[in-house]
Each structure stands twice: as structure tokens, then as C-alpha cells.
Point group: none
Chain length 416, copies 2
């Protein structure tokens, strides 16, 4: 049995000092004896998901933690969502992230998420899948979690350089946006915008007559009578992390973006309906999944979404409370794998989300690596202030992952 | 009113330990209670304008602090000087930095700066502006401060790959250099070298007969009878910082290079004849300009040239004295804007200029960011030694600027 690594990825972990917490952060006020022990026995530092001063989304933050340079491989949310629902993209495909929505006859949005529809989306999606559009373009359409779905346009001379039809959050009452090319004088972009509009119009006819929607209307529910599109992207050539280092990797997650990135990089995704990608997720069940996965895989990524949710809700107390739950789960993993002293434990996040701004920020993420072979530094606890004087210094998400892989001896030499 | 940021950019701020100062630096021996308070309440670090080990000029250092990658956008001093005198460059233009000089009949330099001519350069420049050269090439010529001027060649198939005619400082008695192409087998570079030589010859005829020069000779002054050229460059496509982040920015400066970079990046330049870009600048008037600008703009850059001048003069005492003046001015700005606790104060520089070498060096610049949302570290004073253990770690000029912009919430997310 070779060495193993567990990366705990807490979404939105980093924060800024909060006046009501006496200028400490949620991570610093939370009682987290396990995180602190890892910091004390390990090496700490600050991690910029991409580079200092750059705010990133979860998709970009995760790509970096999976060893990629997002500036090279990132191409919109569509392809990540497609990977999340196991759709293989071909080279000329364009993928969109899609939402089932409720729209009035004259194109005004009643609900961007069709009142967060959960039931019947698979059958709605099936009615759209396989549709033929002009110029021989084929539609591939799959439902994802809740109101979410994925659209792939498959044909020739397509481009991802088109605008979304989705006007974004809090836009009830707004009109659906017209899709137009963002690249000037590109026949492919113009054509793709036209095809996306054609899909929207044809799918609207089909959804209007669909039994699931008739049933919803009878029940007094909003019908999922429109598909909003955004995040158009093409497949970028990516050599999977698993293949690059000949490792077996698992990712334990509830969130579709994280699952999508993990699948793109050749990791096995372990999920469960109780992994809600929210504050009510079953953290202990995730811990058990991690314990099981460590027996089988070389590297296990355990993602929790809770800190980011609490931060977007501007709730530092809730963020701190969630850290305590995760700390507890981490303790369980360490106890259960105590025999395996070859396991490297790493604490990180995909980006910072300060509670006071309720938004992702460019503040670096505090990180820890603990285990055999680690050069222990003087940092005694896991927090933003403490980690800033750690022995790792300041590195990118990509570099952090490689540093962990190096400690489990799966990296290879550049040069001879 | 959103959050604001003030960046104090002290030219050549960083230094090396000086034996006569008991191995401290000018910044460390200067009494700077305001800088120290900012360091104490803020987060500190070391900034490499471009990258560790790379010496930069003020132009490159400023480009980095304005958020650009100089390796991509920098193309000689000519285009920056052109922006500084409000000349709009077209895509095929080549701009040169020019000097009025005094040259003998057989082309030997008597004075590279025509004895630092100050009067009458506008009228001399006007006599050259609009000149026609071979192949339909047009001359655009403007006077800048003192002996400085800008030449733009406007025509087709021009190239910036040509050598300077200016042999550089301390070359009195040397011959004016011949301009030749630096790109082999490039018709455009050969043509541009020929056109620049044609401009030099024709302008010489015109300057010889110009009333301003006849008057100077009568007064016993050296005539400005030649135009030396250097820093040929073309316009590089640059999206202005102001546009990129939808911010209103102001730059308070006396130096033409700094003004040029600021204008290129969409900032409003605030200047005054008392801003001399020297040790005798009116620092308190600059402070007042900063106070006024903070009421109107999102980000204000306040540049002082003094530390660099004292360093080039190998004068650590004078450098320290100048820091004390600026510290005082900084105190005034902080007092006057005390109501605005949303203002982020940042201390930085465009590069280091150690007094003992009297030249720009690659030593990193000590930096501070203080204000709401900043993760305070353990550094108590502003200096090279103290900042090296700061919580920011080590970042580039570009990353430093983005980190400040992130704190005033004007950055946007990469990914979703």
C-alpha cells in the first residue's frame, strides 16, 4: 500500500476580520481542535486559487485544485455541467448550462427556476433530447439536479462565443435575453446564436404541451415551460489528473460543479442524496465515505459547500458552527485511519467568501499539510492570520495540489 | 458612495542596508509615524514590480502597478511619452522619445539637452510638426517638459525595430549615432531607420534657421539645433484599467512617464507646476490634491519622485528626509479623510533604488495595505526588514494592485 492523501476542501473557507468577532474570522472563532492539531503538526500557508488579487468561481477554484491552469483549460460552465451528468462532449460540440424556467406568453420571466422544480425533469428533458435543428444540428439534452439541465448542440461550425438568454438571479419580471454572438464577423458564432434561439422556440412548443407541465398547472404549480441558457463552452483538451500521475482519485461531493470537474479529471465521484451541497448536508456520512474511499484510492478530495452558503447569507456564526461540524468529522476520519500513518491530511478551499461582503473575494485561502515527511512550522492553529506566517509561504491552488502529490510520491521528475 | 483606495507610490522607495546607517535603510532611519501606523494596523509584504530579480524602469514599474503585464504591453518609451502629451497614436504609427540637443556642424554632441532648454520649445516643435517625409510619411511633433519632445512617424509599413540616435547620458563630444534597423531583412525597419534619418536631417535645417535659436545664440545660449531620438515603439492594444473594472481613477504626479502611463490606462492626471518630479516638489499641495481627488474618484494614485532622485544622487540622508515630508503629507490625508473609514491606504513604489549603487535594483519594494477588511499581521513598522515577514508574502506589482482593488470590491469573478 502506497501513501495516501486526503484533501478537505471547504468551499468559501477564507474570510476577512469581522468587527463583531473582535476582528477575528469565523474560522478563528470556531472551536476546531482537529484542524488546529493538523496545523500544529504540519506546515501552513496561504493559497491563491489562481493568483493573488483574482476572484474565482467554484469551477475555476476546483480546476486549480485538480492541478490545471484554468487560464488554459477553462471554457465556461457548460462543459463542466455536461461532465457532471456524464455527457461525453465531441470536439465540435457547444455545451450550455440550462435552467428549466417559467416564462409568460410574451417572454417575461415568472421564475428562473420554475419554482425550483424537482419532480419530472427527466421526462421533460427526454422530450427535448434528440431534437433536430437547422443545418443538421442535433440537440442532446439532459436533466441535472433540481431545475438544472445541460444542452449540447452537436453539428459543424459551432462557436461558444454567444451571450446567455438567462438574465441572472433576481430578474423576475425581466424579459428573456436575446442570444447574440460575442465575436464580430464570426459566421460560426452567428449561426450558434441562431440555433440556440431555434432550440428555445422549439423546446417551448414541446414543453407547453408536455403532460408533466399540464399536471403541474392542474396542481397549481408553475410549469417548466422554458429553457434558459448560459455558460456556453467547448471541450478543451485536458489530460486527466488521474492519468497524468497514474493515481486513483475519488471526490466526495454533493455539488454538481464539483462533481463535473472531478469527472473531467478522471476522479471517481462518490455522492449520496444526503450530500445536499448545503448547510444541512450529512457531514458524518461524508466522513464515512472518506474513510471507505481512503482504503481504495490514492487521493481523496472531500468537498463541503456549507461555509460558502453561510458566507453568501452573511452569517459568520453559522459559518463558524459549520466549521465545528466539519472539524468533528475530520477527527473521525483521523481516528478511523489512525493505523495509516502514511496518510497526508491537507486542509484547503476553492476560494474565500467573506461574510461581510457575501461574495467570493480574492483573499487567499489558509491551508495546511500534515503527515509524514512534512516540514513542521511554528503555526499552532488553523486560521487566516496564523497561516499567513506559515512555512509554505504563498502558493497557487495548482501548486498546493502538486505539493501534496509530491509528499505521496506520485509526482515525476522534470529533467534528469 | 463605494469604497475608495489611495495608493502612495514612492519612486525608488526600497533600499539596501547602509553601513553608515548601522545597516539600516533610509526608510528605516526616517521618522515616519504615519507609515508605521499603517503598517501596524495593516498587512505588509514585499512586492516585485515584475518578478524577483528583474530590474525595471519607472515606466515598467508603473505599468505593473496599473494592472498590466509589461511583458505583454510594454513597447518602448515613445508611446508612453506620446500619451503623456495627449497624442493619440494610430495602429501603424511609430513614436519616439525625442530630445532637443546642441550638436556641432560635424555631428558631435555639445549638449544632449540643449543646456536643459525650457523656453521656446513649443515654437521649435511647431516648426517641425506636419513635416512631410518620403513615401508620404507624415511627422507629428510635440514639445514635452523642458528639453523633451515626442516624434510620431505616421505612414504605412513602419517598424519600431530601429536603434536610437541618442548615445545616452554623459556622451558630450561623442557623435550622434546612426539609426539602423534591429530586425534583419525587414523592409519596414530599414524604411523607418531611413525616415528617422531623413527627419533628423530636415529638422536640422529648419532648427538652424529658427528665430528661437538665433535669439538663443545672440544671448550666448546653446541653440536647440538637433533632435535626438530613442525609445521607438508602436501602440499595443491595452484595455484601460478604468474600463476593465468600471472605476474612476486619478493619478497625481509631476513626472511625464508616470502621467503617460496613467493616461494610457484611462486615469485622470492631476498635475501642477509645483509638482516638479524632484526633491523640491510641493508634497503638501499633492496631499491636498489627493484629498480632493478621493472625494471624486474610486482610486487615487499619488506618485512622488523624490526618493529615486536622492538615491540616484547617492544621498541616503536626503532620501530619509524626503520620506519624513511624505509621511507628514500622508498624515494630513488620513486626518482630512478620517470620516471615510471605507478608504484603503496602500504604500508602495515602482521599484527600489539603493543609494549605494545609485541605480534601480531588483530588490523588492516594501508594501502595506491598511483599512477595513484587511487581515492585520504582526509587522509594526514600514521598512524593508519588517515587511519581509508580513502577511502578504511576496507578490508582483500587478497582484498588489489587484489585491487593493479586491478590497474595494471592484474586481469581478473568473468562473461562476
Amino acid at each position: 500500500m502506497g501513501k495516501k492523501a486526503l484533501l478537505l476542501i471547504q468551499d468559501g473557507v477564507g474570510d476577512r476580520p469581522i468587527a463583531s468577532l473582535k476582528d477575528r474570522t469565523p474560522l478563528e472563532v470556531a472551536k476546531t481542535p482537529t484542524f488546529d492539531r493538523l496545523a500544529d503538526t504540519g506546515i501552513c500557508g496561504l493559497m491563491d486559487p489562481l493568483a493573488p488579487g483574482i476572484r474565482v468561481g467554484t469551477d475555476v477554484g476546483m480546476l486549480s485544485l485538480f492541478g490545471y491552469n484554468p487560464l488554459r483549460v477553462y471554457c465556461g460552465r457548460g462543459p463542466i455541467e455536461a461532465a457532471g451528468v456524464d455527457l461525453e462532449m465531441q470536439e465540435s460540440d457547444v455545451a450550455f448550462r440550462a435552467n428549466f424556467a417559467t416564462v409568460t406568453g410574451d417572454g417575461k420571466i415568472v421564475s428562473r427556476r420554475a419554482a425550483r422544480i424537482r419532480e419530472g425533469t427527466a421526462s421533460l428533458a427526454q422530450a427535448l433530447d434528440g431534437m433536430s435543428l437547422s443545418d443538421g444540428t442535433k440537440v442532446i439534452f439532459r436533466a441535472a439536479t433540481e431545475h438544472r439541465a445541460v444542452l449540447i448542440l452537436r453539428g459543424e461550425r459551432l462557436s461558444h462565443m454567444v451571450t446567455p438568454s438567462d438574465p441572472g438571479p433576481d430578474q423576475a419580471g425581466e424579459k428573456v435575453l436575446e442570444i447574440y454572438p460575442t465575436l464580430k464577423q464570426s459566421a460560426a458564432a452567428e449561426r450558434t446564436a441562431r440555433l440556440a434561439a431555434e432550440f428555445a422556440a422549439k423546446s417551448r412548443e414541446i414543453l407547453r404541451e408536455h403532460p408533466t407541465n399540464k399536471e403541474r398547472i392542474n396542481k397549481g404549480l408553475l410549469p417548466a415551460n422554458y429553457v434558459l441558457l448560459r455558460g456556453a463552452g467547448v471541450r478543451r483538451p485536458m489530460r486527466s489528473l488521474a492519468e497524468r500521475f497514474s493515481i486513483r482519485g475519488a471526490c466526495i461531493a454533493g455539488e454538481s460543479t464539483v462533481k463535473g470537474v472531478a469527472k473531467m479529471t478522471g476522479f471517481t465521484v462518490i455522492s449520496d442524496p444526503s450530500f445536499t451541497a448545503n448547510l444541512d448536508t450529512d457531514v458524518m456520512k461524508k466522513a464515512q465515505a472518506a474513510i471507505d474511499a481512503l482504503a481504495e484510492f490514492d487521493i481523496v478530495m472531500l468537498h463541503v459547500k456549507g461555509p460558502d452558503i453561510a458566507s453568501h447569507d452573511n452569517d459568520p456564526q453559522e459559518k463558524a458552527r459549520f466549521f465545528e461540524l466539519v472539524d468533528n468529522a475530520c477527527e473521525r476520519i483521523m481516528t478511523e485511519t489512525a493505523g495509516a500513518d502514511d496518510t497526508i491530511f491537507a486542509l484547503t478551499g476553492d476560494h474565500s467568501t467573506p461574510c461581510e461582503i457575501g461574495e467570493h473575494s480574492a483573499d487567499p485561502v489558509p491551508v495546511v499539510i500534515s503527515g509524514t515527511g512534512v516540514l513542521r512550522d511554528n503555526v499552532k492553529s488553523y486560521g487566516e492570520h496564523a497561516c499567513s506566517s506559515g512555512g509554505l509561504g504563498r502558493l497557487t491552488g495548482n501548486q498546493f495540489l502538486l505539493s501534496v502529490l509530491d509528499l505521496i510520491d506520485v509526482t515525476y521528475r522534470f529533467g534528469s
